[in-house]
């Protein structure tokens, strides 16, 4: 059977890699992905489990030893798999591949396949297992213990930076998806009272019935989507829900602050449940829709923009395709989940492969589906939606003409007709990836369920799903950042560390919101659309966190006396170092002003000197700040890489006594029960 799967996978991969000049069916991507992931799980995952990690079914996990029915609970492996997948699946694997589709479908697809099998899945798997063997310790704790105090400090800075940049970048996606869209804005606005209602339902009417209240919330959200059409068509109501990007940005910043300071049960918890409910349902729908429709990809395998002149974001295919895909192939953020709740639920060590390696494979499959959703669009349509006005021109005619000159046919009339079909005023310059993904998803769904008549409903369903998803990340991320800041500030002045002291809550919430709000604001004001600067910055931060995780993993593998297998984490680590450091170099120092922050600042400074234009000094400051943040992150991660290499050297040369800080072995009663 495995020979057949390998043959099918090779045929599908060869088809997507070698076909030029003719359209291919999306099923080739699906088959290539499923075969690669199946082979990766069966053979590479098994190899890592058996040879590198030496999973021991007789060793009790912390869930068994420390079982308290609260944090540590031995749980069925499929239940943990679902729990872990729900925690790692975010907007990244949907947005990243959509943006990277500007290079064509090939670079993104190949990176998702190879990056997930040899990088992302391995990272999630080994960090999960190492956390299980250390009583569920977090990644930052393991970095401090295994590499040194600097490792812990760098991991802390990397985590809080990535949270801030992530929140700024994803908030910009919501702003770009909702600007001038009364339908979308109304639907999303309605999710706030719906979540409050769910909170009331859970606390007063049906305590603890979360699935039930989420289903009620989902029905209400669907009604809100239907009502949104009516609101958008009524001139009086539409006016109240039509906002320009800066107004929406301010509203989101205020929302983020309020949500962070409110009690968890009031807004965060019910919104989180609703978002998870919609997320799991929509991902399942997308998979079913693609399998049912089997659409043809309209995007070529490679576009002319592999040279770095792309309108969606500037930069050549190496390294920018790799940092743009981000979570779809490997995500540093996953290492936080793999060393968070999940290790405390694992019943047997041997189940870490299914949960760690397997859930990341499911995430990579979602990324492949997002690639398909973007590539089923006509390339002209894709570029019209994703290109900022600063690149293609301010008017619909100018934008369509620029895109046609690139060799991708599109007319302003076609775009107007598409905008009308999805219930929007315009689809030009809707940067950020979410609108393009929503149009692609609506295109697929409308061909399987309901036809063109319901395309607008599907489009707004997809927009609601992404925005709800992102807003949940905003309020949860702001709160997590607030706690991290409170923990750190508590060392300086103890009352600031008290998580229930309101002056501390308000001041630290304000600090975190101000940090990501600043990035959001600069994105909104950026003439190049903001995503051009923010998404690569997010990608670099995320992949740098993965670099830290792989440093920790490699250090532990070497300390375990398994240096001959260290390549399993060392190769993805070396690849990530080369990708992130090259990307950071380009983003800071590239002489092309569309790529390099400093070159762009110099260009703006020259323009300001020639004719005093208002607002330029702020844009120059933003560029310099972005350059500084990128440089600081790379500098810190370079330190942890150097420190790790020194630790490896000391261990391998025998100069250091090797200390593996695993919890002592205790025999598992589950293993004994099974044998009996």
């Amino acid at each position: 059977m495995w020979v057949v799967i390998a043959g099918l996978g090779a045929l599908a991969t060869a088809t997507i890699a070698l076909r030029r000049g003719e359209l291919i069916n999306a099923m080739w991507l699906v088959v290539a992905a499923l075969a690669s992931f199946a082979l990766g799980y069966r053979f590479y995952g098994s190899f890592v489990a058996a040879k590198v990690l030496a999973l021991d079914p007789s060793r009790a996990t912390p869930a068994e030893r420390l079982d308290n029915g609260r944090d540590f609970v031995p749980t069925n492996k499929w239940v943990v798999f679902g729990h872990h997948f729900a925690a790692i699946a975010g907007p990244g694997p949907l947005v990243g591949p959509v943006l990277a589709a500007q290079f064509g479908y090939l670079p993104g697809t190949l990176w998702i396949l190879a990056g997930a099998v040899f990088g992302g899945c391995v990272q999630d798997f080994v960090i999960l297992l190492f956390s299980v063997r250390r009583d569920g310790k977090s990644m930052t704790e393991m970095a401090r213990e295994e590499i040194g105090r600097l490792g812990g400090f760098v991991a802390y800075i990397a985590v809080i930076s990535i949270i801030v940049i992530l929140l700024g970048a994803t908030a910009l996606i919501v702003v770009n998806a909702l600007k001038s869209s009364p339908w979308g804005t109304f639907t999303i606005a309605m999710t706030v009272p719906i979540a409050l209602l769910m909170g009331f339902y859970l606390r007063r009417l049906r305590p603890g019935k979360v699935l039930e209240s989420s289903a009620v919330g989902f029905v209400l959200v669907m009604l809100a989507i239907l009502a949104g059409k009516w609101v958008s068509q009524d001139p009086t109501f539409a006016r109240y829900f039509t906002f320009a990007a800066p107004t929406l940005a301010m509203l989101i910043i205020i929302y983020g602050f309020a949500a962070s300071a409110m009690p968890v049960w009031l807004l965060l918890a019910p919104r989180d449940y609703l978002s998870t409910f919609v997320k799991l349902g929509t991902i399942a729908l997308l998979v079913i829709g693609i399998l049912a429709v089997r659409p043809v990809l309209q995007m070529p395998a490679l576009t002319r923009f592999v040279d770095g002149t792309g309108p969606v974001f500037a930069g050549s295919v190496f390294p920018f395709a790799f940092i743009t895909i981000a979570c779809g192939a490997i995500s540093g953020f996953h290492s936080l989940i793999s060393s968070g709740t999940t290790p405390k639920l694992i019943r047997r060590e041997t189940e870490t492969r299914l949960v760690g390696y397997g859930a990341m494979m499911a995430e990579a499959t979602v990324a492949i589906m997002a690639t398909i959703a973007a590539c089923v669009l006509q390339p002209g349509t894709y570029f019209a939606i994703n290109s900022p006005a600063g690149v293609v021109g301010q008017t619909a005619e100018a934008a369509a003409s620029t895109i046609r000159n690139w060799g991708f046919p599109v007319t302003s009339a076609e775009m107007q007709s598409l905008a009308h079909a999805v219930g929007e005023q315009t689809l030009f310059n809707r940067t950020g990836g979410a609108p393009a993904f929503a149009v692609g998803m609506a295109h697929i769904f409308s061909r399987s369920l309901g036809g063109d008549a319901v395309m607008a409903i599907w489009y707004h369903f997809a927009i609601m799903f992404e925005a709800l998803f992102i807003l949940t990340i905003l309020d949860a991320g702001t709160r997590v950042g607030r706690f991290m800041l409170q923990d750190a500030l508590g060392h300086i002045w103890r009352p600031l560390g008290r998580t229930s002291w309101y002056p501390s809550i308000l001041s630290t919430s304000a600090m975190i919101v101000a940090a990501w709000g600043y990035f959001l604001w600069q994105g909104v004001k950026d003439p190049l659309g903001g995503i051009n600067s923010l998404w690569p910055l997010f990608g670099i931060a995320n992949q740098l966190l993965a670099t830290v995780a792989l440093c920790v993993a490699t250090t532990i593998i070497i300390k375990m006396g398994k240096a001959k297998y260290a390549a399993v984490t060392l190769v993805p680590l070396a690849w990530l170092v080369s990708v992130t450091f090259t990307a950071a170099w380009h983003k800071v120092l590239d002489p092309n002003p569309r790529i390099g922050f400093l070159a762009h600042a110099r260009q703006l400074a020259a323009r300001a000197a020639a004719n005093s234009m208002p607002g330029l000094s702020r844009l120059i400051l933003n560029d310099r700040l972005d350059a500084m943040v990128t440089g600081a992150l790379v500098g810190l991660v370079a330190l942890i890489v150097v420190e790790s290499v020194l630790v490896w050297g000391r261990v391998l040369s025998g100069r250091n006594r090797v200390e593996v800080r695993e919890a002592p072995f205790v025999a598992s009663r589950f293993a004994a029960e099974e044998q009996a």
């Binding site: 029915g69 798999f81 925690a87 305590p207 979360v210 968890v264 049960w265 953020f333 968070g340």
Partner: protein
Amino acid sequence: MNHRQITRRGRIVRALLLLRGALREIFDESAYARFLTRQHVPSSPAAYRAFLRECGIRKARQARCC
């Protein structure tokens, strides 16, 4: 019903139970049930409030992935 049909039905039931279990874990229903067992109290608005107080901080500290 022959043996094969019974086995197939058993597998489907088991898969559905697993799916239900996963959803209950994801949506904290299992955590609430464990809380009630641990505290020896029946489900009520007061018990749920106590559960939310206990798990609120833990939940708020959980990062959501990108």
